[in-house]
Amino acid sequence: MEGLVKQPRTFDIDSILRYRPIEERVYRFRCVEAWSMVVPWDGYPLSEFIKACDPLPSAKYVQFLSLHDSKQMPELGSSGFSGPYSEGLRMDEAMNPLTLLTLGLYGEVLPNQDGAPIRVIVPWKYGFKSAKSIVKVRFVDKQPPTTWNNMAPDEYGFYSNVNPSVDHPRWSQKTERRLTGSFFPQIKQTLPFNGYGNEVAALYNGMDLRKYY
């Protein structure tokens, strides 16, 4: 943990695991590639962790950097990622009670492929915003560069709130395939903010969400 904070710190995983009581949150998860799933995550609000980091008032954004280890992640070389996966949230988004510091799912610790040992879940944004395997949290005053936004800014915006009225260039975002384990997908209408509008729409008052997609 570093950047605009009183004191940069390293947390060991046990202290993060035990810092606050773990609660189960059942969230809809909507991928930018138009599939969705309902997942029971285990964790506690990211805001609790951020308070423990004690950021300075000048910190406006929080950046998450993921583990970048080609020994454990042999496909990194062909991924087109030049550095560690980077994601970020505006401070008020990160402090929203829905944003979950996530340590498990289905009552088990996170498996590697789901972002072990620590990830965030931001349920009103497309899945790639919910960074996995976070090893560094950095508080900054400007919008941080984020991996997919850098790779293709016209496809993946910084905000990437789930929004059925802004299509991805290659497919519509009006509907989603709800994956349920049965062979045929359930087609669902995609909801603005993935159905969490009551909780988060106010964060974007006055913003043109077609421009800040």
């Binding site: 599939w35 790779m151 062979f183 045929f184 087609i187």
Partner: protein
Amino acid sequence: MPNRIIVLLKWIVFPLCLLPLALLVWYGVHQNLSADPVAEITHVTGRWALVFILISLAVTPVRRLHPRLGWLIRFRRMLGLYAFFYASLHLCTYVFLFSDLDVPGALANLQAHDWAGFRAQWAVPIATMKDDILRRKFIQVGLFAWCLLLLLALTSPAWIMRRMGGRRWSRLHALVYVAAIAGAVHFWWLVKPGVLRPLPYTLALAVLLLARIAWWLQKKLRRGGIPAPVKVQQPGLS
């Protein structure tokens, strides 16, 4: 190669080409098609359509390697038709599983003989597909490639070839090159940035196309179609 053996080989190759589909069905039945079966089916059928186009395009270059490989031509139509077969499965996956059709709902309508309900189920997918065809390049080029393969499949029987005449038929079937290139472009346009999955297929296609261009140039040169450079006597130097 005696005819008898070729017929026998065809009996082996024909079911072998169905293996990718069989595996797909096998994994489907055993709930082993990843968490997102629709995406998996789309990828597998699309990939094999491209692979079969490439194999059918490889027949001629391989035959030229040795005079005793001439019999391979007898497998080319089958391979080409398999390319069309997998491309059609790929298209069906899109139409039935990817275009917002409520499949369980539509099936229930069919079982209840509720034709009006069944027709109504198609309103949303048809709107989605129209939107895709009008607005998305990778859908346009993919559909174009399938239409070409359809044309080639329809004109593939021997009697049509005879009726058209070999020259005209060959000229029409040169469209397979356009279909192959369109297929590769479709692949590149649909993957997200940084993904290099289409690269091996594109390289294979490039080799197969370059081999043909090289032969064409060689033939031209041999026939004197392109004049060989002429040495000009430079006066005053000798």
